[in-house]
């Protein structure tokens, strides 16, 4: 059987794919995973899974342009300019300042 190992380099880090090897069962797989991915204390944790348990997915439909779900689906420049002009603002507000919720405005 082929087994895949995912390793965590430091606590808090994501588990990242390390590699694969042959082993007849979980006991052997655990032993070999330790050897290949942690004998130098280079990982703090490992996930050892049979290759068959992994389902690859590589195609993702994107037919109707649903980019309202992403940041690049928004372009506010033109409207912002018009809104400022109407309000007679002499200087643009700090573009970085987060919007204050109405309840917290003094």
């Amino acid at each position: 059987m082929i087994w895949e190992v995912f390793r965590q380099e430091r606590k808090g880090q994501p588990f990242v794919h390390g590699g694969s090897f042959h082993a007849p069962d979980q006991a052997f797989a655990d032993a070999y995973a330790r050897e290949f991915y942690a004998r130098r204390q280079e990982s703090v944790a490992l996930w050892v899974v049979p290759r068959d348990a992994i389902h690859p997915i590589e195609e993702f439909p994107d037919e109707f342009d649903l980019k309202y779900r992403r940041v690049d689906g928004y372009s506010i420049k033109a409207r912002l300019k018009e809104a400022r002009a109407r309000a007679g603002a002499t200087e643009p507000a700090d573009a970085e300042a987060p919007a204050q919720p109405a309840s917290e405005r003094t």
């Binding site: 590699g19 042959h22 050897e35 130098r40 590589e58």
Partner: protein
């Protein structure tokens, strides 16, 4: 070349990366398998010159370091053969072809080792030459191999240090110990100059065109000379090539290696080639029953 193959070629030349299940031209796949298989073979055969010296190591520290180095190499063979397997050639068939003499392994592993001097010189300089090639492979267009190279390069970083430390202990020891190193260097210099292969220009090398290799052979050799000749000479060791010199333009010139000899060596006519293959054949036969009992499926 078909239009699709041409498109693929342009894709990899533009820096595109290829994963295991992507479509790839037959030629690309075949070249990959041959190249990567040779690399795996080399890691495995590289164990043989060194393993006897584990038993003879003169201190516990050297024994441990050498064992760990060789362990890494076996581990690298495992990682590299896995890449070949996922490209379509099972590991057992790689081993069959290796011991039948049908596939190749790097020239340096066709030579005998004679003393503890060899142990230092191999770990320092042969591994240094190998790391130069391996670092260039980090840019391989075939991503699974590039990823394995990352782990390999990281693990091999201590090998060179261990080798250099071993050499340093001897050159600062007795006159006889120093002589062991010099004598080993005299024998290993030619194989080292052969290591990176014939000086085929990068733009004529199909391996570079497919972006499997990203560095020409001569470029690698120059990198080795630039990095290591000063380090060798500063220990008072002599390099057995009176023509070796660095030009003002930074290019090293040297006595032309015997390229026919390189071909002869890698086709199985090196001083230790047949003995090593016979040893592999024998040891595999003796433990064959274990794989059959434990790894029930062939691959």
């Amino acid at each position: 070349m078909t239009a699709r193959e041409q498109e693929f070629l342009e894709y990899v030349q533009g820096g595109g990366l290829v994963e295991t299940d992507d479509w790839m031209p037959d030629e690309y796949r075949a070249r990959l398998i041959k190249f990567i298989e040779m690399h795996g073979n080399s890691e495995l055969m590289g164990v043989l010159p060194e393993r006897d010296w584990i038993l003879r190591a003169p201190t516990l520290q050297r024994k441990l370091a050498l064992t760990a180095k060789i362990q890494d190499e076996v581990g690298h063979c495992q990682l590299i053969y896995r890449v070949v397997e996922d490209l379509g050639k099972p590991r057992e068939r790689c081993l069959d072809d290796l011991i039948a003499g049908k596939s190749k392994f790097h020239n340096v592993f066709h030579y005998p080792t004679k003393s503890w001097g060899d142990v230092g010189v191999i770990a320092w300089l042969v591994d240094a030459a190998a790391i130069i090639s391996q670092k260039a492979l980090l840019k391989c267009s075939y991503a699974p191999y590039a990823r394995v190279m990352k782990k390999v390069c990281w693990e091999e970083s201590f090998h060179i240090l261990h080798g250099r430390d071993t050499v340093l202990a001897m050159v600062t020891g007795t006159a006889e110990q120093r002589e062991l190193v010099q004598e080993a260097l005299n024998r290993w210099w030619e194989p080292l100059m052969h290591f990176h292969g014939t000086p085929i220009p990068a733009d004529e090398d199909p391996m570079v065109q497919w972006r499997i290799k990203s560095q020409g052979n001569e470029e690698a050799r120059q990198q080795f000379l630039e990095g290591y000749v000063p380090q060798i000479r500063e220990l008072g060791l002599e390099i057995p090539d009176p023509k070796l010199r660095r030009g003002e333009d930074g290019v090293w010139t040297y006595a032309e290696p015997d390229w026919d000899k390189l071909v002869a060596v890698v086709t199985g006519h090196g001083p230790a080639s047949q003995e090593r293959l016979a040893f592999r054949r024998l040891s595999r036969a003796e433990v064959d029953w274990v794989s059959k009992v434990v790894l029930a499926e062939a691959a």
